[in-house]
Amino acid sequence: MKRLSIHLLWLSTVALTLSGCAMQPPQAWEKGNFARKEMTMDADALDQAFTQHVYFSKESASGGTGVGGGGCGCN
């Protein structure tokens, strides 16, 4: 758990670095860019499912974006 908390600390540092500046949440009328398909988190469901399935069969790490993917025997 100690290692995990170190990693989480590092991760939040990354988060702050990535954002680069203070949070300035958009006003109601400034959200046009969020309507773009590419700005949504899960833009292409089939693409994402296929890619995750491939990596699931080749790497130890999986998950992170949602729950309930279900297993497979793709060893």
Binding site: R3, K31, F34, M41, A49
Partner: protein, 393 residues
């Protein structure tokens, strides 16, 4: 003048941002009006029931290779449907069939004497979502079936948005039960039960930045061995912790989008992994979108992993001593992986779009984050490609 209903055969165009094709049909003044600040309606971030459905069909292929060996090929047609129903509900369903063929991988694996493998996996899932004013709740059932492996899962997730819609909290739980019946009969009717718990938050950081942070905890118990590997004995309990950060950034000056993600993964087998990925969505010409992408993955080996060094005297590899758990599965070794690829999307009109994606993936032990990967692993390469069509309705 009499009050006549002229009923113009027209419906005003939607004000949400559209593919450039329709923007190109507008005149200069219309374009200028659409560039004014704060007039676009954001539908994506608000909860609220969706009004449009989409059906997508993809043909996905996977092929991998190691030097001197022709390995597995997978051809997988997949279908996905999303449809709003009855005002405040939506239903989403997908199905995929993996047709797997190719030579059996590597010498330390065997499949009941067969040197060629043919297999088929059928998977399907359906999700029902109910939308409320600022929240939504979804239930999902997933099913996956191979001749030797079957999985059933059920998942529940909820989302809740702040009044200004700039923050969305999400939570999810799921449970799955897998049944394993390998053809070599090494075990019979083995099971694996996995429960997942996730919490997350999505924040509109600025008008051009969307950030998401998810934390997932997975508890599993049961049969985690690879039944087709001769020397494979893993713990019957596996717990995973995953932290994921996703960041979508829109660049106004050129209308491109950078999507990036970092994931930290840790499990009770001793594996620690970092995944960093990014893609750059670039609209080019009028109706085309090109997206180059890159991904880096690095993992530390499981604590019970041993290097499968073929010894000329002893022969097949075997773990030193008599450990309780052991595996030579390369998936549990130390290595790094790099994926490079790209996607082209053709938005034919408002409703039809076509896409093509190609990626190359390579694993090498020397590519691990600190360079100290497992020895004796041959470089592993894979290519994946997808071709798809999508129709909105």
């Amino acid at each position: 003048m009499a009050a006549t209903d002229l009923s113009l055969p027209l419906v005003a165009s939607d004000s949400s941002p559209e593919p450039r094709s329709s923007a190109a049909r507008r005149g200069a003044i219309s374009l200028a009006a659409f560039a004014l600040p704060g007039l676009m309606i954001s539908a994506a971030h608000a909860e609220g029931a969706p009004e449009e459905g989409v059906i997508s069909l993809k043909y996905q292929t996977y092929r991998d290779s190691q030097p001197g060996l022709d390995r597995i090929r997978v051809n997988a047609p997949a279908l996905h449907i999303f449809a709003p129903i009855a005002g405040s509900w939506s239903v989403e369903a997908s199905t995929v069939q993996d047709n797997i063929s190719g030579a059996s991988p590597r010498w330390h694996t065997s499949i009941s004497g067969a040197s060629k493998m043919e297999d088929r996996r059928t998977a399907a899932d359906v999700k029902l979502t109910k939308y409320f004013e600022r929240a939504s709740v979804g239930v999902r059932f997933a099913y996956s079936d191979e001749h030797d492996y079957r999985s059933n899962a059920v998942a529940l997730d909820g989302r809740f948005s702040s009044a200004d819609n700039n923050t969305t909290w999400l939570a999810g739980v799921s449970t799955s039960r897998d049944t394993i019946n390998p053809v070599n009969g090494i075990v019979e009717n083995e099971h694996k039960n996995v429960s997942e718990f996730m919490v997350g938050v999505t924040q509109a950081w600025t008008k051009n930045d969307l950030l998401q942070f998810n934390l997932t905890y997975v508890r599993g118990n049961g049969y985690f061995n690879d039944p087709y590997k001769l020397v494979d004995q893993r713990p019957r309990e596996k717990n995973q912790t995953i932290a994921m950060l996703r960041w979508n950034h829109f660049i106004e000056s050129n209308s491109t989008t950078i999507r990036s993600a970092y994931r930290y993964y840790s499990d009770s087998f001793g594996v620690r992994a970092h995944t960093l990925s990014g893609e750059w969505v670039i609209p080019v010409a009028e109706r085309f979108i090109v997206t180059p992408s890159a991904r880096y993955y690095s993992q530390r080996a499981a604590s019970f992993y041993f290097d499968p060094v073929y010894d000329p005297v002893i022969g097949e590899p075997y773990p030193v001593g008599a450990p309780q758990h052991y595996s030579a599965d390369t998936r549990l070794s130390s290595y790094g992986g790099i994926t490079l690829g790209g996607k082209i999307e053709w938005r034919y009109d408002k409703n039809w779009s076509f896409d093509l994606k190609y990626e190359r993936y390579e694993q090498r032990s020397s590519w691990r984050l600190d360079g100290g990967g497992s020895p004796g692993l041959a470089p592993f390469r894979a290519q994946f490609a997808q071709i798809g069509v999508s129709r909105r309705f």
